[in-house]
Symmetry: C2
Subunit: 207 residues, 2 copies
């Protein structure tokens, strides 16, 4: 059984389903930065709560994160249910914040969300790509990224959240990876790791 | 040198940069199905045209496909330049077709684009995932997919294009993969492979 979130919070529009070491930390970081109110339901993956019927009714693929947005109607007339961290981020940016000011910014945000979740992830996790593709992408990113300059628009947004979250995973997942050829990325990671909203979303317990 | 597209076509809004065996076939298939006019610039990857300055000015990562949309202004005041096949598909659906009728349909289309390009691709191409993750995703997809029922909204759209294009790759990339446990997916692939727009986008020469 998944514990329902408390009754007094059920009127809130957004419920994020997450769990330890899932990409739920990405939309959660975004909502913390933007001051978007949300319920958090943390599933116990060890206990396979993400494979129980209650959660499969929300995401039939049983993957985390997922978002339920009571403020919008999905195709079945029920509140909108959404999976894929990148799609959740995009929806939050487009519908629950004022980050995106034009069709061009919308398209470019989608571009970076796909780049982070697909191209960068595949370059990292597919062993045959890691030596060939990954250094080329990182060298170019090292040129493009800067802690004070958003990837899209005038303020830190969903594109920055996805890209920075992925890059900050690098030292966690690949502790032997040498990032010294990419000083701008190293500096960006250090900046990200100090942000209180990031630390809260990642579950770090600060003194 | 990349051959410029003919002068008489330069007034067209959309230029797609592609090449053999790139994901350019996905947005191209979509534009063919929807009757969206476009220029196609095919780069010679063997000759490394995608690493030449002319193309790096369009996509600094040197990856195909990329789209230039003269009808929208990018952040630098020049026509919008976009990479990532999923982001190009989303932009075409949102800005150059009438597929998407609501915020919910927009969010769900983004969800399937990420699912195809990230989750499904990683399940396939990361060896450790192929045995564990891939069959679970395929079993659920086999329940959800149907040749006559779009994934989002009332008509075949960007979500169907991305998912169907990925699934139709399976027998090409993994000829030894047994798809018989997924009869609905097999039937969908057979239907896709007969579509004239798909065949044109894939570069099949029909009699």
């Amino acid at each position: 059984m998944i514990n329902s979130h408390p009754k007094e919070e059920e009127a809130m529009a957004l419920t994020l389903y997450g769990g330890q070491r899932t990409r739920a930390s990405m939309p959660r970081w975004y909502m913390e930065e933007k001051g978007i109110a949300y319920n958090l339901v943390e599933l116990d993956l060890q206990a396979k709560q993400h494979r129980e019927p209650e959660f499969l009714a929300i995401n039939p693929f049983g993957k985390l994160p997922a978002l339920v947005d009571d403020s919008l109607q999905g195709p079945d007339g029920k509140p909108l249910q959404l999976f894929e961290s990148g799609a959740i981020l995009m929806h939050l940016a487009a519908h629950h914040s004022n980050d995106i000011q034009s069709e061009a910014e919308r398209a470019l945000t989608t571009q970076w969300l796909l780049f982070a979740n697909a191209t960068l992830a595949i370059a990292l996790f597919v062993p045959s790509n890691r030596e060939r593709e990954f250094p080329r992408l990182m060298a170019e990113l090292n040129q493009q990224l800067h802690p004070d300059r958003p990837l899209v628009g005038q303020q830190w947004g969903a594109a920055d959240c996805a890209m920075q979250a992925y890059l900050a995973y690098l030292p966690l997942f690949f502790p032997d990876l040498d990032l010294s050829p990419y000083p701008a990325i190293q500096s960006l990671i250090a900046t990200v790791q100090k942000r209180p909203a990031y630390r809260k979303a990642m579950g770090y317990v600060d003194a």
